[in-house]
Amino acid sequence: MIINFKGAKTYIGTGGKSLDVSKMTLCFLHGAGQNHLSFIQQARFFAYKGYSVVVPDMPAHGFSDGNPCKSIKENAEWINDLLVELNLKDVVVIGHSQGCLVALELNRILKSSLEALIFVAGSNEIPVNQFLLDLSKENPQKASEMMVTWGHGIDGDMSINKWPGHSHYGEGNNIMCMNKSTALRYDLHACNDYSDGIDAAKNIKVPALAVLAKNDQMTPLKSGLKFLELIKNCETHTLDCGHFLPSERPMELNSIINSFLSKLK
């Protein structure tokens, strides 16, 4: 659905169902340079399972207008305001990559209505190398292509896909191209500049789930595992794939999330 939020056209994927605020809400937060289409195989899946699903395109991403947020905190505040605007109460926040950092910050603001946190291919920090930071300014398309290549496991190289006929590389590049050309640069800087992750992780009081990727070259498994040590009682799974876990291992991820959610109810 499209709403006018903070004076800008804002798109929120709802998984093909209309939003019902009386239900538990799953709020999916996309990663750097991505948009709602990172969660193609999660949005419809959970909406059809009876959850209320919101997958916002952050400002300047996907179908949303506006200026990109400049920091992880700004992203979290934007999401917080959006959830208030939509009148959503029992929220499970699911972040992928940069979305995990935003979720960590959101945890500090959203306390009363937050039911659980789910981290997909995440960590408490996402340092970005200078080469990619520079490239995202000079040639965002090239930078996107490199991220799509690094971001996928062998399934990317071999054009293996659970969705018949789809290519992770071709689809991934074009998903990133849908964003405004400045979006990636702001995201990568926001990730690189974020340094409150350790405190934020220690501060988690709600049930938490983490699904990490064995061959993650963007937020390496080692970093992800160190992050999880900071969280009290975090259920952890590792899947054999690359960073773009939601599209590389959709069924496995969905069923892990599904059984975690069923324990919350």
């Binding site: 093909g16 062998i154 190289d157 071999m158 789809h166 290519s167 069924m251």
Partner: protein, 431 residues
């Protein structure tokens, strides 16, 4: 991991890795119509397009999917869909994008069935086409109307071998937000990848060079993922609510793969031109050697061109790699590896000479196909167009002495020797 494999490697590997259970190195032929569901929930999620997977072979199949993913990788597209023939692919694209009242701009120099579909069949359903010269981007621009929903042409036209200036035409389409759909059968991704030049959708007859062995009919649509379908008034059945799945918006839910998602949910579901898994396997076997074959096709074509241009019995020779071809400069720019292995030539002596030549060669096969590993010939004047006068043929851009040659992979000396046999028969006739 993250190797970014090159074209030759992808031709062999893309779309398949050996599964852990059987270790089968070759892509298995999943000769099945349907797939057992693990639960009712899983079945529902496949029907609702919540997740990817197979439910019925008319819609998708693991062997066919391996072929599709190989094609998507070779073209650099977001997604692909394989179907029963090149013509099925063409019809699926047109019917997915256009509805009654819509308009198409198409090349006037194309394969007969492509012309027929647009000129005679689609108007019965309210979709009309204006045909324009494919080498005239300005004419294409002028023909675009407010209700134009796609521009269509063949990169290398069959049989006239006109070359479309793809980057120029793509710029025009892009500025008007109209998808450029190209039949890339004659070039294959080995000679040219249209998405790199700004095209949006590719249609293939896999029957020809991609399959390459004249053993299976098949077609494919490759979706560049680089087109914005967001205008709900212009593309209401792709971005607006669609009757399938309770008013789904394919554009919102699937973004770059919206068109393929729509074709699977509507075209494959309701028209049903599916490719058999066994034919998908045969076509993939062909694609494994596409780079090797195309190299040799081009090498042999250039040798044959030399031979024909210098032959006393040959009146004229047409191929875009010859400087005499009107589109030679465009061909050099967009098809630097060569512009395919179809050659048209005229034999001194007109229609009778063409007939005598065709009937005397013994290695080259006289038949109605192109892109086989074997050399193929046809003489339209005595076969497909035998009912037409010389004048009527000229009006259609053909001459009655014309032979269409699809250059194969045989030893070049054997091909030329075979042609000499044909020319001797013509000489006898001319005496």
């Amino acid at each position: 991991m993250s190797e970014n494999y090159k074209f030759d490697t992808l031709s062999l590997h893309a779309g398949h890795i050996p599964d852990k259970e059987t270790g089968s190195r070759a892509v298995p032929i999943y000769q099945t119509t349907s797939y057992v569901f693990n639960s009712t929930e899983e079945a529902a999620s496949l029907y609702n397009m919540e997740v990817g997977g197979h439910l019925y072979t008319r819609i998708s199949n693991p062997t066919v999917a391996a072929l599709e993913q190989r094609l998507a990788a070779l073209e650099g597209g977001a997604s692909a869909l394989a179907c029963s023939s090149g013509m099925a692919a063409m019809h699926l694209v047109v019917s997915a994008i256009c509805s009654s009242g819509d308009h198409i701009v198409a090349s006037s120099k194309m394969y007969g069935a492509n012309i027929n579909l647009l000129q005679h069949t689609m108007p019965r359903f309210g979709v009309n086409t204006d045909f324009v010269n494919p080498n005239d981007p300005e004419a294409i621009k002028r023909a675009i109307k407010p209700n134009t929903k796609l521009v269509f042409g063949e990169v290398i036209g069959n049989p006239g071998l006109d070359i479309m200036d793809v980057p120029e035409i793509a710029k025009i389409c892009n500025s008007k937000n109209i998808p450029l759909v190209l039949d890339a059968t004659f070039n294959t991704p080995y000679l040219m990848q249209p998405f790199k030049h700004g095209a949006n959708i590719i249609v293939h007859s896999l029957t020809k060079w991609l399959g390459g062995h004249g053993i299976a009919i098949g077609g494919a649509i490759v979706n560049g993922g680089n087109f914005d379908w967001g205008d709900k008034d212009k593309f209401p059945t792709i971005s607006g609510p669609h009757f399938a799945l309770g008013g789904i918006s394919f554009w919102e839910e699937f973004g770059p793969s919206a068109l393929i998602a729509k074709i699977r949910a509507e075209g494959m579901y309701n028209f049903g031109p599916s490719l058999s898994p066994t034919n998908a396997f045969h076509l993939m076997q062909g694609i494994e050697t596409l780079p090797l074959r195309m190299k040799k096709h081009i090498e042999n074509t250039h040798s044959i061109l030399d031979f024909l241009v210098n032959h006393e019995m040959v009146e004229w020779v047409k191929h875009p790699d010859l400087e005499t071809h009107p589109d030679h400069e465009v061909a050099k720019r967009i098809l630097p590896k060569g512009s395919g292995s179809i050659v048209a030539f005229g034999i001194k002596g007109g229609r009778e000479a063409g007939k005598a030549f065709i009937e005397s060669v013994q290695l080259a096969s006289h038949l109605a196909n192109v892109g086989d590993a074997k050399t193929l010939l046809i003489h339209p004047g005595s076969t497909t167009h035998s009912h037409l006068s010389s004048e009527a043929m000229k009006e259609g851009g053909l001459t009655d002495d014309m032979i269409r040659l699809s250059v194969g992979l045989e030893d070049i000396n054997d091909i030329t020797k075979d042609f000499e046999r044909g020319f001797r028969a013509v000489k006898k006739l001319n005496k």
